[in-house]
Point group: C2
Chain length 244, copies 2
């Protein structure tokens, strides 16, 4: 199947101040913000979305907490939400897939509406022509897969999910660590192999469901890869450009 070219830009009509609960990791936050800007149809600074980014990378590791070997990141994420509340934001996005394990707890801790990254991905899959029953491949951290963050929520939209083999998943985790260490180029080959493995399982699309991955594996001009970071940025802009 063939997907349309990169996402179309969005012109903001309601400049609601966006909050970003970030720092997980910091480079993924920078990547999210750059994509938010690039997806905005604007001729001047003033036509861009006002955004407050709390990039607080001291938040404990999310995968370690889910696997059971680390501190909970929830208290630090709640503190970051307080920062965003005081900053007058009206919506919050979290450019970290694994952090969505705590989505309901975070939503319960604030009056601010949180935008869910899997809902953003589901909207992008639908816009690209995928239909209920299609199989979607996941490239994600051990934590995101173990917690079934995508599997459960995409099931609501009718999609089935496939994940790499145990060996393939170990190479994906190594690739993510390389990106976090500032060496994205060292991660690309392993990720291409993992994508090929998922394609063999019949996946119509493969989601880069960890915000570090698009830094190592460009999705432009790909008719298979879907960048969850880009889908989240698009959902934030659409939220600021409601249909009349």
């Amino acid at each position: 199947m063939s997907f349309p070219a990169p996402f179309e830009k969005v012109r903001i009509t309601t400049p609601r101040r966006l909050g970003v609960l970030g720092g997980m990791g910091p480079l993924a936050t920078a990547d999210f913000y750059a994509k938010l800007i690039r997806l905005t149809l604007a001729r001047s600074d003033q036509e861009h979305l006002p955004t407050v980014i709390a990039s607080l990378p001291q938040i404990p590791d999310r995968t370690a907490a889910i696997i059971g070997s680390g501190l909970s990141p929830l208290p630090a994420m709640r503190e970051a939400l307080r920062v965003l509340e005081h900053a007058g934001v009206e919506r919050v996005a979290i450019p970290c897939n694994t952090a969505h394990f705590w989505f309901d707890a975070l939503q319960g801790a604030t009056h601010l509406p949180l935008l869910h990254i899997v809902d953003a991905v589901a909207a992008a899959l639908s816009a690209r022509g995928l239909a209920p029953g299609d199989i979607v491949g996941l490239l994600a951290t051990d934590g995101t897969l173990k917690a079934e963050i995508y599997q459960r929520r995409l099931h609501r939209f009718g999609y089935a999910c496939a994940t790499p083999t145990p060996h393939g998943q170990r190479s994906v985790m190594n690739a993510i660590r390389r990106v976090k260490a500032g060496e994205p180029a060292a991660a690309t080959a392993a990720l291409r192999n993992a994508v090929a493995g998922l394609r063999e399982k019949g996946c119509a699309a493969v989601i880069l469901a960890c915000t570090e991955l698009p830094l190592a594996l460009p999705t432009e001009h790909s008719d298979v890869l879907l960048d969850a970071t880009e889908a989240l940025a698009l959902a934030c802009l659409r939220d600021a450009a409601p249909p009349p």
Copy 2:
């Protein structure tokens, strides 16, 4: 003269929360944050600098205000400082050269120490071997040049400044507008011409003194160009890694 290769990375020892008064423009803010991360020596998320970014692009145009044809951006910048104060930051950087016209007024409006971009550039020039008496070329907005933001402050460090011809300056402003409109590649040729003109005036270094310019004119591997955005990011990291 030959400059050393790109800036060396800095390992943070004092994770002071940094505030960024941004959105002028938003892409320059994203570029600053990406450079801050890339210049950090870190093996994990947690070793990066905690940062809160108020990217509020509705701040009125800085150059228009200096030239006398636009609203003052000062009230909106003061409001952004309030956001950063409430976010618990300990230092503030402003990745917009022209906004430094209001530096003293902003410093008078907050107890938070502000880091001055021209001081960061002066430190980088000195680290690259420039000495008092050397001539430094400026590529900047009309507002930054007219307000003599660089000329006055670099004079304190003993440097003389050169600026493009009136014709060259018009092409620089057109290039900056192209970047703000999301078309950095359309700006590169005009900027290369402006750099050549400044070299003919005897400049030992040419400063990209507008945060939009590095997006159109890469400074890597150049022994002449100095990216003020990168210099500011480095100063923020050095501030979080004080000598023992």
